[in-house]
Amino acid sequence: MGNRVAVIGIGQTKHAAVRGDVSLAGLLREAVYRALADAQLTMDDIDAIVIGKAPDFFEGIMMPEGFLAEAIGAVGKPLLRVHTAGSVGGSTAIVAASHVQAGVGERVLTIAWEQQSCSEAMWALSFPIPFQQQLVAGAGGYFAPFIREYMRRSNAPDDIGILVALKDRLNALKNPYAHLHEPDITYDTVKDSFMLWEPIRYSETCPSSDGAIAMVLAGEAAAEASAAATGTPPAWILGTSMRSEPATANGRDQVSPDAGKDCAADVFRQAGITNPRAEIDVVEMYVPFSWYEPMWLENLGFCEEGEGWKLTEQGVTQLDGDLPVNCSGGVLSTNPIGASGMLRFGEAAMQVRGTAGEHQIDGAKTALGQAYGGAAQFFATWVVSSEKP
């Protein structure tokens, strides 16, 4: 649809529990400069900026992009701020891509970030009365019952979550930007970590991170020029999709939401993919709690319902498996909430550009990025390829 669009520059910060060495503006510039350097461009080359983050209360700044405008090179340009809950990083990249597809910009900068050290996300995620029934349990407390229901339906062994967490944290050791680097992690250390929200253990839970990611998206001519200048191939976007559903609706399945299935079907249709298991080489998906790997494998259509945990158990999703998932370490290793979705999209693009470094999958040609948010009700996906559509 519309003009062709590709990712030609990707930059992310070193993610950490507290990035006290930089201001907020400095944090974003770290990502922006790396993305521009990757594309061998400057701020002057950018036509428009699309920025995303999760709730403003996390940092205590209402609509902070206004104050950040100068630092991210937006003065005199269009600056759009997206917020779609946890999926926002993915949604923001998609909105940026649609700018290029629509022809309103030839090179669009997109940024997603969070500075979670400013607040306690757990409480921001516990809605008080009168907004909804009070759980005072954070996101983990909200999702634990649905994980338990997945385990019941699928008869999965109790330790699938441990396998996911161990894999992702080991993958993170190959990603210099990842927040958590735990070289001594083992199956037993994950198993023995304390139970936070049964069945989710401490080591099966995402951290709370400061971090940002930026990408430069470009139209066909700019992408070709960039590839010629940098010698790095663009990641061509074959499809993008967003779907939302209410937090509560009669008949809604929170274990495998319809919005997620619709979003996957839509993006694969756009990308001409009929057998995702065979045609997708690598996946970056939003797994903030370990069990969401098998749950999303099923929701995305990589296997039949009830079979996702077998892919994890058989090692299919490992770096050396035939469907590597979250080679970067994923959300389980790095979670600046507003950026987490775009990190999935950006890491997918890095894989097909061949720039993922130590966690690169050799010959990765087609990759899926996925993000979700809210009460597993907001979904965003894109498929990127090393080959121009």
Binding site: M1, F67, A69, G103, L125, F131
Partner: protein
């Protein structure tokens, strides 16, 4: 930078709905406030929910006092079965921009756009102080009226406006609002009476400030024949652009609105005669800044709705300006109009839309 010359697709506003705006909607939450407005936006053109390809909304958590507040408001749309949907933490005018881009990209032919704000639960001028630089400005707690007062003072000192002219703008806006059943403030004391009042924040008097309002707005967009099939005279969006200025208020002139001027140029405001303008100016002196930025002449009808000075529901007041112009075009009253939306303090960010009939 690439210049946006001609959008590939013809896209129009085909439906606009709002309810009367008020100082405080106490008996309804945000979902209950916006749901009937959304419903009527579809019903009045006979459109079913399933005919909408894309939905985009604008709101602010800082008004709701709750993180992820827009998540709950999605219940007002009835997003079941699932829909393609997005949200901006901005005035609804930017939600309209995102939807327009989505249609231009070929991903959708139709879109529902809505936005809403309830400012009544908090102290709005102080809440808006949280929109400032957190390192240098926020700790001083300058409220939104004090900030605007700095700008008005600069304009007065530079001889660019007078207190009388500011009062005239307030008077004209609220007298015009007598014809707007949705306006919160209708009618005004005389200019002399206004000028006799005390300052709220020197040099701003109460009449210089927009009222604090609760309210919302919904708009339906459609491309090409979809628009023509739904209404007799769609309000075609023939120019749409938005720009932002520096937040570093000490580093830029406050006596002009360069982002509004640039957006107006890019949107092609000056390419033809303008019949009507709806300007999103929350303060009287900002009304004049926008008139100058857009280069509007004496023959343009400006803010016949009363503008933000007659009703200013945060996050909706910008999209309302586009809606007011669209309604006049759809009704056949005018042929070409311009609307602006603003975001941030001191007109930092501005969107400009040119709408045309036939």
């Amino acid at each position: 930078m690439a210049d946006f010359q001609k959008a590939p697709r013809d896209v129009a506003i085909v439906s606009v709905t709002q309810d009367p705006h008020s100082r405080a909607v106490v008996e309804r939450n945000e979902v209950e406030l916006i749901q009937p407005i959304i419903q009527r936006a579809l019903e009045q053109i006979g459109v079913q929910k399933g005919e909408i390809d894309f939905t985009c909304s604008g709101s602010s958590d800082y008004l709701a006092g709750q993180a992820f507040s827009f998540v709950m408001t999605l219940d007002a749309v009835g997003a079941w079965p699932p829909i393609a949907e997005s949200h901006v933490e901005m005035d609804g005018a930017w939600a309209l921009y995102e939807a327009w881009v989505k249609i231009q990209s070929g991903h959708a032919d139709t879109a529902l756009v809505y936005s809403y704000g309830k400012s009544s639960p908090g102290d709005l001028p102080l809440v808006l102080s949280r929109q400032l630089d957190p390192y240098y400005y926020q700790p001083l707690w300058p409220d939104a009226i004090a900030m605007a007062g700095l700008q008005a003072r600069q304009m007065l000192d530079a001889g660019l406006i007078t207190e009388r002219r500011m009062a005239e703008i307030a008077y004209e806006s609220r007298e015009a609002a007598r014809n707007n059943p949705n306006a919160q403030l209708q009618g005004s004391p005389s200019v002399d009476e206004l000028l006799a009042a005390d300052f709220v924040s020197d040099p701003l008097r109460r009449h210089d400030c927009a009222p604090i309002s609760d309210g919302g707005v919904a708009v339906v967009l459609a491309a090409g024949d979809r628009a023509r099939n739904w209404v007799d005279r769609p309000a075609w969006i023939t120019g749409l652009d938005h720009r932002i200025d520096s937040h570093n208020f000490g580093a830029r002139s406050l006596t002009s609105a360069p982002s509004a001027k640039l957006a107006a140029e890019k949107a092609g405001v000056g390419n033809d005669k303008i019949d009507v303008a709806e300007l999103h100016a929350p303060f009287t002196h900002q009304h004049q800044l926008l008139v100058e930025a857009l280069g509007l002449g004496d023959n343009v009808s400006i803010n016949p709705s009363g503008g933000a000075l007659a009703a200013n529901p945060m996050m909706a007041a910008g999209l309302l300006r586009l809606g007011e112009v669209a309604n006049r075009i759809m009704a056949g009253e005018v042929d070409r109009g311009v609307a602006t939306a603003t975001s941030g303090h001191l007109l930092q960010q501005n969107l400009v839309a040119v709408l045309e009939g036939a």
